[in-house]
Amino acid sequence: MQNYKFTKKRNMYIMTMRLLMWASAAVTCSLVIFMIIYVFIKGMPNISWELLSGEPSYLEEKTGILPDILNTVYIVFFTLLAVLPLGVGAAVYLTEYAKNKKVVGVIEYAAETLSGIPSIIYGLVGMLFFCQFLNMKTSLLAGAFTLVIMNLPTILRTTQESLKTVPQSYREGAFGLGAGKWRVIRTVVLPGCVDGVITGCILSVGRILGESAALLFTAGFAHALNGIFEGMWSSGCTLTVALYVYAKEQGEFGVAFAIAAILMVLTLLINLSAALAEKYFKRRRTV
C-alpha cells in the first residue's frame, strides 16, 4: 500500500501542468487583446473625416485613404464575382457529377495544394501571368484574378461541405418526378448550398482584406481616385497594401495605424458575421 501514496511528485506534476495550461491560454488571449487595444489607441486619434474622404497629394501635403478604401471595395467585389461561379461549379462537379474517383482525388489534391501556397508566390505568378503574359499591366484586375486563384479552395471547400448536407432523398425525390440532372441541380442542390457559399464569401472577404504580399506586384500601390471601371484597369493599392507602404516605405505611422484600426474593426465584423452565420445556418438545419 505504501507504494501507492499520492506522492508529492505527482501533485507537483499536476499543479505545474495546470499552471502551464492556464498561462498559455492567458498569453494567447492577452496578446490579442493587447494588439487590439494598442492599435485602437494609436489609430483612433488619426481617423478623421478628412482622412477617410480625401486623397493623398504631395502638393498640398495631405493624406487621404478614400482611394484605398474604394480600391479595396472594387477588388473584393470583382474577386467574389469571379471566384463564386468557379468555386461553386467545381464543388457541384465534385459532389454531383464526378464518378471517377481519380478525377475527384486530383481536383481535391489540387485544392489542398493551392491553399498551402504562400501568398508571395501567388503574387509572383500573378505578375508573370496576368500582368505580363496576358498584358493586364499592374492593375487591380490582375490583383483580383490573382486573389481568385487564392480563394478558389476556400469557396470550393465550404460549398462542398454544405452540398454534402443536402439529403440524398431530396435529389432522389426530384429525379423520381422525372426532372433532368441540371434541373435537379438548379432547383434542389444549388439552393441547398447557399449557406456554404455565404460562409465561403465571408471567409474570402476576410482573406482579401488581409492580403498584401500577393497584391504588391499585381495590383501595385498607386493612390489615384478612380471609378470602378477605370479603377480595375489601373494600378491601385488596397487598405492593407497602403498600410504597408505608409509604414515601411514612407514612415507615416499615423496613417498606418489609422488603417490598422479600420482593418481591426473590419476583422471583428467579419469574425462576428461568420459566427452569426454559422449559428443561423446550424439552427435552420436542425429545424
Binding site: 507504494n3 501507492y4 499520492f6 506522492t7 511528485k9 505527482r10
Partner: protein, 251 residues
C-alpha cells in the same frame, strides 16, 4: 465473510430526475455479485457510483452513504484517485489505450509512481498471467493493443485494472460486446479472480448471472427490488416483479 462494500439509503439524481431510490445493500468480499435488471433501471449508474465515476458527469447529486472497508467514500478525507485505484473498473466496450500492450498495463503503475523497469516488467507479466492472456501476448508486448481481438482486448483491460492491485473489480457488462467463446473465457477468468478479488458485475444476460455469481441484485426503475443468494433468487424469488423479470415476462 466480511462485507467489502455497504451502501446505506443511497439516492442519486441527474438534475431533477431521480435515478436511484434509497438503495441499501452489503456486498461480501471475494465473491461475485451480479446486478441484473432491464435497461435504464439504474444498475450501471449504481456501479459507477461505487468508484465515484459519476463525479465526472455534470448535474449528478448523491445522498446517503457508501462504505468501502467501513469508510464513507464521499468523506472529504478520501482521495478519489486512491479509491479508484482500489476499486478498479472494466467497461462495456473494451477500451485499451492506443499504445503498446506493455504500456497499457504499465500505465496504471506508472501513474502511481512506479518507475523501476524490472518492477514494471514483473507487474506486467503478473497482471497478464492473472488475466489469462499472457500466453497469447507474451511475444508481442511492444505491439499496439488495438491489434488484438475484441475478447483479447477485454482481458487486456482486466489485466490493466489488476496491475494497480485493486481489491474490488467493477465490471460493466464486460461481455456484451463479445462473441460466445470470448464470453466464456471472461466468465472462467472471473470465477478464478474471485479467489483474490471482490467482483461486482452488471449483466444483461441472466444465464451469465446464474452461471457465475454468488449474489444477485435485481434493479427496476431505480429501485433495488431484491437482493440475495443467486440460487435462491432465481429459484424462489420473493418479489412478484423479480419473478416476472427472470421468467422473461418483461425487459
Amino acid at each position: 465473510m466480511s462485507n467489502m462494500i455497504t451502501v446505506k439509503n443511497m439516492c442519486l439524481w441527474y438534475g431533477e430526475h431521480q435515478a436511484l431510490k434509497n438503495i441499501n445493500v452489503s456486498i461480501p468480499e471475494k465473491s461475485i455479485t451480479a446486478f441484473i435488471g432491464p435497461s435504464g433501471c439504474g444498475k450501471s449508474t449504481f456501479l459507477k457510483s461505487l468508484n465515484r465515476m459519476n463525479d465526472l458527469i455534470q448535474g449528478v447529486r448523491i445522498t446517503g452513504d457508501i462504505l468501502y472497508n467501513g469508510k464513507n467514500i464521499f468523506d472529504s478525507s478520501v482521495d478519489v484517485n486512491e479509491l479508484r485505484r482500489e476499486v478498479g473498473m472494466v467497461f462495456q466496450k473494451p477500451n485499451p489505450f492506443p499504445m503498446s500492450i506493455y504500456d497499457n498495463i504499465a500505465y496504471g503503475p506508472r501513474t502511481h509512481g512506479i518507475k523501476n523497469k524490472a518492477k514494471l516488467d514483473d507487474i506486467v507479466e503478473c497482471s497478464l498471467r492473472d488475466a489469462a492472456i499472457w500466453e497469447e501476448v507474451k511475444d508481442r508486448l511492444k505491439k499496439n493493443a488495438l491489434g488484438l481481438s475484441g475478447g483479447q482486448q477485454q482481458r487486456l483491460c482486466i489485466a490493466r485494472a489488476l496491475a494497480v492491485k485493486p481489491a474490488v473489480l467493477l465490471m460493466d457488462e464486460p461481455t456484451s460486446a463479445l462473441d460466445p467463446i470470448s464470453t466464456s473465457k471472461i466468465e472462467e477468468l472471473s470465477m478464478k479472480l474471485k479467489e483474490n478479488y471482490t467482483i461486482i458485475m452488471v449483466t444483461h444476460n441472466m444465464q451469465q448471472a446464474v452461471r457465475i455469481s454468488d449474489q444477485t441484485a435485481f434493479f427496476l426503475l431505480g429501485e433495488l427490488i431484491e437482493y440475495g443468494n443467486t440460487e435462491t433468487l432465481f429459484s424462489t424469488p420473493k418479489d412478484k416483479r423479480t419473478e416476472d423479470y427472470i421468467t422473461g415476462r418483461f425487459g
